[in-house]
């Protein structure tokens, strides 16, 4: 069973994402800000992270960079899930090494499919 970490400070989306991932059969962890997210990645080594960008503490980009900069954690799959939809943000995310970039609002069905694909590559 794979572990999925949901990093987002908005409870209104976490509730739906949590349910979605559990229904998919993954073990779900939740982080409410950037620092917590990084700590949890280091400790639990999830297979996939659903990473928001606008979070208190470190931003999603900083977390992404830290993860990719650390050899131990570098292989973690990261899917950015954010309201920041400008093309510059997408470019930055991809340049920093995100495996996917989904702009809110999104379709839960499509998200589930994308998660399945990313984990299936394992």
């Amino acid at each position: 069973m794979s572990t999925v970490l949901i990093a987002d400070d908005e409870p209104n989306i976490v509730i739906s994402l949590e349910y979605l991932m559990q229904r998919e059969g993954h073990e779900v962890l939740v982080a409410r800000d950037g620092d917590e997210a990084l700590a949890m990645i280091a400790e639990h080594r999830p297979d996939l992270v659903l990473l928001d960008v606008m979070m208190p503490g470190r931003s999603g980009f900083e977390v992404l960079k830290a993860v990719r900069g650390n050899d131990d954690m570098a292989a973690t799959r990261i899917l950015m899930l954010t309201a920041r939809g400008r093309d510059t943000d997408r470019t930055k995310g991809e340049a920093l090494g995100a495996d996917g970039y989904v702009v809110k609002p999104f379709s839960t069905r499509e998200l589930a499919e994308q998660v399945r694909e990313m984990l299936g590559e394992n």
Binding site: T88, T91, V103, P105
Partner: protein
Amino acid sequence: MRRADKWLFAGVALVGLVCLAWLIVAGVLLWAVLDKADWTTVTEALGGRAGLLIFLWALALVPVTGTLRFLIARYITAPARLAEAARLRLDNPVDEPLTIDGSRETQQLADIFNTLITRHRELREATDERVAEAGRRIELERGRLAALMSELRKSVVVCNLDGRILLYNNRARQQFRRLSGAAEVTGGAELMGLGRSIYTVLDRRLVAHALDTVRRRLESGAESPGAQFVTATPGGKLLRVQVSPVSETVDGEASPTRMAGFVLLTENITDDMQADAEKDRLLQSLTEGSRSALANTRAAIEILADDEVNEALRDRLLGVIHEEVTSLSERIDELSASSTERLRSRWPLEEMLGSELVDAAVRHLAEEGTIHVAREGNGEEIWLKVDSFSILQALAHLAARIADEHSVESVSLRLVRHGERAALDLLWQAQDEKQAVEPAWESEPMQTGDEQLSMSVNDVMERHGGTCWHESANGEKHCFRLLLPVAEPVERGTGPLAGDRESRPEYYDFDLFAITPETHSLDDTDLGALTFTVFDTETTGLDPSRDEIIQIGAVRIVNGRVLRHEFFEQLVDPGRAIPASSTAIHGITPDMVRGQPGLQTVLPAFHAFCRDTVLVAHNAAFDMRCLQVAEARTGVVFDQPVLDTLLLSALVHEHQAEHNLEAIARRFGLAIVGRHTAIGDAMVTAEIFVRLTPLLAEQGIHTLGQARSAAQKTQFARMRY
């Protein structure tokens, strides 16, 4: 006979008569005193010697004459000569001091005269110096005003109460050029020029109404009495015009309630209006458009909370929510995609060549600090849209952090394309194995030297609508990338300036404030008060009935000054071949005229350029005949009065044999630049005309009518084409 000689003659005669009288009296006395016998002895003794007496008498007169002459020269002639010399120096400055041979009194007079003359000269020189000084200061201030006006980014036009333009700046010139219908041919010069009427561009009633408002505000003592209006030009552009009064100066003091003229600040708001309208539309569609979607969703959710809702309705309501929310998502995506191009950054960004930015960065970093900067890259030309100062600050901050954190001594700069944008990369090599998460340099406040700014690198990127990040490969090769917007390549330089490029164009003539509407006919107007268009044409040959115009050059004279930058220059496609013999003279080849507009386009534009002026040309009969022949084809009639510098030169220098352009220019000491180009010849003719005008005045020719009739009387007037 000279006066002195008269005196001499009279004096000698007087002395002679006195001596003779004395002799006679002596003789008479002797005769009276002596008795007859003694008298007979005396007369016998003297008898033959009477002649000797007469001779002695005559001889005595000689030294008398000499003495008298000396005395007259000293006491009469010398003062007279002094008076003459002094009188001469009254009107003419003569450097030599007065010297006179004469009595001591006369000498003293001469010395006093000299002193007075010297003092007078010194006084005059001091006054002249002060006048020149004042004149220089005025010129300096005028120059400063001209510089200010010409570099202003807003277009400024000053008019007198008649609406005649007497000052405008470069920006106004460019703006009106864009508004002109015949811009490619005239460069807008038929709209914007000293002495031209502003009412060819702006509606007279609009301006009059604005001026009324201004007057009322002036009279009521408002602090900033101005008015503004928005008007559409014939070309469909929107202009915002602000009108302010120019106060009349009475006795050197600006009178607060009376206007001598007005200032117009014009701005082309067409693009701004469109952009604002677009933003409003987007905002509108977002708010209004979302209301229904949210209403549907909210109502459905609230109904769902009701326990009594049955399965079928529940399913339908869920369907509604799903549908509305999905379409709202789609709309946001659409709007987001379409609006990003149009939502410009509010911060003023400049177009700049990428390599120039990199050069500036290299210089800036070299000055700032301890780090050495190299360049990398393929030298591709990329145009950026940047606020260069804040970019340099960002780079300086990053370079300093790099130097501190990684103990590196050199970095390189590279500029490459990145999709639709450009990436400015700061590259360095670091050996350290820093695995720890670096503090985010881009979000902390920037530091330059000792100062800490309130902006971060992120803020700078925000301004540019870009972003930045740090990449590293293997922890060794590091790259800090700044993503910047790309601009359209900019064309360098504005339109050509005829004549000398060094002089700053003069776009003002404050004398025009005073010009009042003509109450007399053109013929009675003084030459100095008229506006002239001096022109020249180059043709395919010398026969107006068969040859075609291939180039027109013209320049304006306003208030006695040649306005070198208000010119008209255009090649014309004649629609026929140009014989090699004529090309040899004016240098215009068939290649040069290919693709140029034809006479149908150029002549009406030229006509607009010459509007309300008197035409001047050298050997005008030829040029006017060419224009006449073109009348039938183009429907453009030139009915302005015409003056010919050939005839006027013959009037003024009637004894000279040569009156061709080179000869006249040489006589006036003018250099000819661009001989046998239409504009070059027009410029020289204009300079010649301006110099002929005062010479004509000396001959009593002041008005246009006088000039025309006098010119007709010269022999050249009989030439016909």
